[in-house]
Amino acid sequence: MIRASLGLALLSLLTVLPAPVRGDDWLQFRHDATHSAVSQDKLHFPLKELWTWNTMGPNKHRPLYHSVIRKGWIYFTASEKQQRFLICANAKTGVVKWRQPLQAERLSFTVSDISGPAVTESGRVFVYDWVSITDKPTIKTLTDAIFSQAASLTCPEVLGAIDCFAVRTFDAMTGKEGSYFPMAAMGANGVLSRVSLLETPFGQEVAAVPPTMAGCPP
């Protein structure tokens, strides 16, 4: 009860915080899809530090190497104890608007781990995570896709869970979770069609080649 009341009080506090001033957004790695790395907003020197966010997960894990900004709100991932969060805060003050827990505190491939979130102009935040899928309808959807790619193989195992890297989405303003994409959708062991970039006597071509791997789930 106390916790609920506190939550409501803080929620009402958030509603009276001033909306950040709109400027040029930095929506993704290197600013935009062309990686221009140019903001239309000027800086007024000298600069001084306005606020900081320190983060430290287990084993001194510090994955905070990228942030993105939309409509005056900053989005980044940070660890706290055993948990990693996607955080939305006022870019000018650091006051948190919302934050969402992520399942994996650390992602094994470092570039995935340090890649910050990215946000669309329309307000969808993408963030990388690792998910454990245990609900049966989802597993069936995924396994049907997996085994349809290896039709000649038989896989006697019944999967109880699928663990995989995933792209998750959140609403930039509310933090409400949207759809997510599990990489297991690609199939067992990553069975996918390939295209080859070829040099031929007649120029460059693209050709299909057999999948890189196929087989039953390990």
């Binding site: 400027g23 040029d24 930095w26 600013h31 990686h35 790395a37 140019v38 903001s39 907003d41 000027k42 000298p46 600069l47 001084k48 306005l50 606020w51 983060t55 905070l64 900004i69 900053i74 940070a78 969060f85 805060a89 006022n90 870019a91 000018k92 003050t93 006051v95 491939f109 995935s112 890649s115 910050g116 990215a118 993408f126 998910v131 899928i133 609900d135 959807t141 396994t143 999967l159 995989c164 890297f165 998750r168 509310t174 409400k176 994409f181 599990p182 990489m183 959708a185 690609m186 996918l192 390939r194 295209v195 080859s196 970039l197 460059q204 080649v209 057999p210 890189t212 196929a214 789930p217």
Partner: protein, 366 residues
């Protein structure tokens, strides 16, 4: 338990869709609630069976958007740079002999650093429509980055006959017994590991420690051979240069309409490393120079090397932690800013809208 070991590098947003290259050879595209595609991109070695020629290794290379396509590159195995314009279409690709930095695009030109550690031995401009080089700035024309050959096992799919008993009977000559003959009942696909040699850079994935480029209407800015240079965007001529020390590296570079801002890090061991793996440095500082002439206007020491972003007149510096810097005009209400110190607690209590991922809508795999 099914475990799918596939990871993505820096996301690229084009309209509402996300694109990314994986650690391996995957190009991923997802437009939520609309469609998704995944394609493995292959650059076969010459004179090797295309089926078993080793797969690419993107290492999470950050793709850029150009000419209605995606700039992708493998700078580590059978190196290439390509413009992919559809699930199975390329506009062009070029074989490479050098490491690459982070690509950037301005108009019809594609720019990238290339050569040596961090891909900062030079900057090259290519016509994004056909991949033809337009100009190159490389004061010391770099040698090709060395590769070694390593043996890997490449899977080859083969059709294996399935043998079973037929209706036809044979007689054993020794015993006179009748036994059923064997026949091919069908075929199954199996994967056979085939040893194959793969070229692999002795220093792979140099885009990890590249500082990126800045592309304005007039110029391209970037790190080349221990200088920060401004090059004319169309012709590649040198506009100005800002020298840095022999052990200094630029870890990130960004710009406003008036200033170029970058982070200079002096490596203790003289080696160039990605910012996330740097353990010891002698000194690190943020520097701003005038965009037109390269004159230093501001500098500030920072504890570690990191990456930069700019928005709303603020500078965002991430070095494992987040530091937000602004001028006096952006300082704002100190009471408001003071709340930032309490932000983690405040944020935790406002987390009321999340759903566990198990119950999230799985909208894409149809």
């Amino acid at each position: 338990m099914l475990n799918v070991p596939e990871y993505l590098g820096h996301p690229l947003i084009v309209n509402n869709a996300l694109f990314a290259l994986s650690a391996s050879d995957l190009l991923f595209h997802w437009d939520p609630d609309v469609k998704w595609t995944m394609t493995r991109i292959h650059h076969p070695l010459p004179e090797i069976d295309r089926d078993i020629s080793p797969t690419a290794r993107f290492g999470g290379y950050p793709p850029a958007y150009a000419e209605n396509g995606l700039v992708v590159a493998d700078e580590t195995t059978n190196r290439f740079l390509a413009l992919i314009t559809g699930k199975t279409q390329q506009q062009w690709h070029r074989d490479l002999t050098h490491s690459l930095g982070i690509p950037a695009v301005g108009g019809h030109l594609l720019y990238t650093g290339f050569g040596g550690p961090g891909g900062v031995s030079g900057i090259v401009a290519l016509d994004a429509q056909n991949g033809e080089p337009q100009w190159k700035y490389a004061p010391k024309d770099p040698e090709p980055d060395p590769q070694v050959y390593q043996q890997i096992l490449s899977p080859k799919s083969v059709e294996v006959p399935v043998i079973g008993q037929s209706d036809r009977m044979l007689t054993d000559r020794r015993t006179g017994r009748k036994i059923p003959a064997l026949e091919i009942k069908g075929y199954s696909t199996q994967m056979v590991p085939v040893p194959v040699m793969q070229p692999y850079s002795t220093s792979p994935f140099q885009h990890w420690s590249n500082s990126g480029l800045v592309v304005t209407q007039e110029n391209v800015y970037g790190e080349v051979n221990h200088t920060v240079v401004a090059l004319n965007r169309i012709g590649g001529t040198l506009v100005w240069k800002y020298p840095i020390g022999p052990k200094d590296v630029i870890t990130s570079i960004v710009a406003t309409p008036e200033h170029l801002v970058f982070c200079i890090s002096t490596a203790s061991n003289g080696l160039r490393e990605p910012v996330w793996s740097v353990e010891r440095t002698k000194a690190n500082r943020l520097v701003a120079v005038d965009l037109k002439e390269g004159k230093e206007v501001w500098s500030q020491a920072v504890p570690r090397p990191g990456n930069l972003a700019l928005a709303n007149g603020l500078l965002f510096f991430t070095d494992g932690a987040l530091h937000v810097l602004g001028g006096t005009a952006e300082t704002g209400d100190q009471n408001e800013i003071a709340q930032a110190a309490k932000a983690p607690t405040l944020g935790a209590e406002t987390d009321s809208s999340g759903r566990p991922v198990e119950s999230a809508v799985l909208s894409s795999p149809r």
